[in-house]
Symmetry: C2
Subunit: 365 residues, 2 copies
Amino acid sequence: VNPDNPPRPGGLFLGGTAYTPARMRVILVGFGSVGQAFARLVEQRRESLYAAMGLSPRLVAVADTRGAAVAPGGLSADELLAAKASAGTVGASARGVPGWQPGDTAALIRETQADVVVEASPSVMANPAPAMANLMSALGSRKHAVSVNKAPLAVAMPALLELARYNRVQLRFSGTVGAGTPVLATARTLAQGDRILRVRAILNGTTNFILWRMSEQGEAYHAALAEAVRLGYAETDPSADVDGIDTCSKVVILANAVLGRRVTAGDVRVEGIRDIALERVRAARERGASVKMLGEFGVDGTLRVAPGEVPSRGPMDVPANLNAVQFTMETAGEVTLVGRGAGGPETGAAILRDLVDVWNTTPHA
Amino acid sequence: VNPDNPPRPGGLFLGGTAYTPARMRVILVGFGSVGQAFARLVEQRRESLYAAMGLSPRLVAVADTRGAAVAPGGLSADELLAAKASAGTVGASARGVPGWQPGDTAALIRETQADVVVEASPSVMANPAPAMANLMSALGSRKHAVSVNKAPLAVAMPALLELARYNRVQLRFSGTVGAGTPVLATARTLAQGDRILRVRAILNGTTNFILWRMSEQGEAYHAALAEAVRLGYAETDPSADVDGIDTCSKVVILANAVLGRRVTAGDVRVEGIRDIALERVRAARERGASVKMLGEFGVDGTLRVAPGEVPSRGPMDVPANLNAVQFTMETAGEVTLVGRGAGGPETGAAILRDLVDVWNTTPHA
């Protein structure tokens, strides 16, 4: 079976146009490291997904900050990647949209026939409005939405979930927390047959790296931060990481998804680790503990982000820029999931996982 | 809504008997710590499960080694527990079956009307036949089966999966690996959108405790084993643990479920840790590693159980009697799940999780 040209149900005509089962048409917004990895992955996995479950995802529109490309029959990842590499935008490809304006994305989403919209532009916490408009445009035009952009979820997750429910489409976001490490799916599994009482999590690789260097190498905060920047783990402006904003947005997403708490970033008490004293890290180490940037919430109403201590050599004492999430279960005790928390290919895999979930939970021929 | 007496669809009569939607009738085989915990959990959670998804599981038959109790309308957990505590068998309860013989279990399963059979008798690797007969009787009479007994799966998992498929019922077994820690569900999630290349796992709490004591306390093998026995982590005959038999059966189950490899215990190269030299553990420690009893398999054909080393302070270096499973993913790198690997209540929660999965994936009114 050729996944690019799946069998058609008898050449059905609708309004003069041959009806072709598209097997999931996808609009992709954002073509940075995540979007590019996802576009590659879609092509790599199409054949095996079609063989396994009849799913053949196809990119029908892609927009980046400077341009867009549209092709109802499907865009080629190679062409998109080549245009991005040579001209800096997918708009330079053969399928580029002439006269494109950055503000056109929400209209493109609304007006393009598609099943799912993937919002993969960078999470800008200070300006969630553009991504918010994209998600609202997707859900409002009855398209499923997969967001790896945390910003709109952090400020308006309860409203977005409600909008999805109202339009009877799905809003998925498994790549926002833990990237390829399946934090949200594990939480759902755990909640089935047992009860999650509390979640304690290290959700930001940059701050974990800084605190780990301070503890292991005895480096001061600024030296450890410089090392993180040198290795590409931290931005030159590390505010979103060290001030706890990134962790806060992930805690909001988890609390909504895991405990059904209808909260937003404004509800979280946040304390970052900027300029944290080496003495504090050293003192913890002498007590057999490690200082970590922790996001915490629970059925008791806790909802906070702050530096805290975990036992050394326990499963939460993860090195380098790893993430770790510990669930305290009513019956099964503590269950901890450890893995990378970022990365283009990892996040691309999470998007594909969400598409498979959408496919498996939606009626289709 | 009263979950014990759910609304009936119009008093439909079938052959003169009022048809009552049973909302999942369960036969439970085995009433040790796991079976008892499961019976309690079913009563505790019935109301919330019914409210959330219309599922109201009811024990219609329970068998232990010495007796059985049957009640089509549902058995009371309290009565079963009281009979077990006072007389050593559920057969002593008011609903006890007179003239019960231990060999009657397979016939009881076949002849009792029920939706699911839970096989929760102890895993006896040297004698898998009785549990095997129970599962075959369940699947053969078109009942779903949930096994927390590893023995029949270790010797005949491919055949049992085939029998389930032939009879169009489900065989579930999430409690056999990791107890309440959702190892199998995490594997399924990870395989969606990414590819599992290799699994490396610590699946036996007893041997992890022994090796951990040897490494941390500098104790010799026999002293560490004695401590494990004293704390109730090891049986007085620890063969199944220290000779790798328990780990082997879990590796077989994982390899079948995670990679679709149709293997049995006979296909696994097994080396235990009986009488392992303290010197070996010490030498590893000096190299920054910990000796663990590892089960390993992968797409390259690896399938073995043997002592091996993991980096100290990494996520696989779990203390005491914890379990840990590390998945090496094609895209997402290494993802590690850590939690308790045994316990009656934990395993009871896993059974309930399987019942919820059966309920959610089966058509029902």
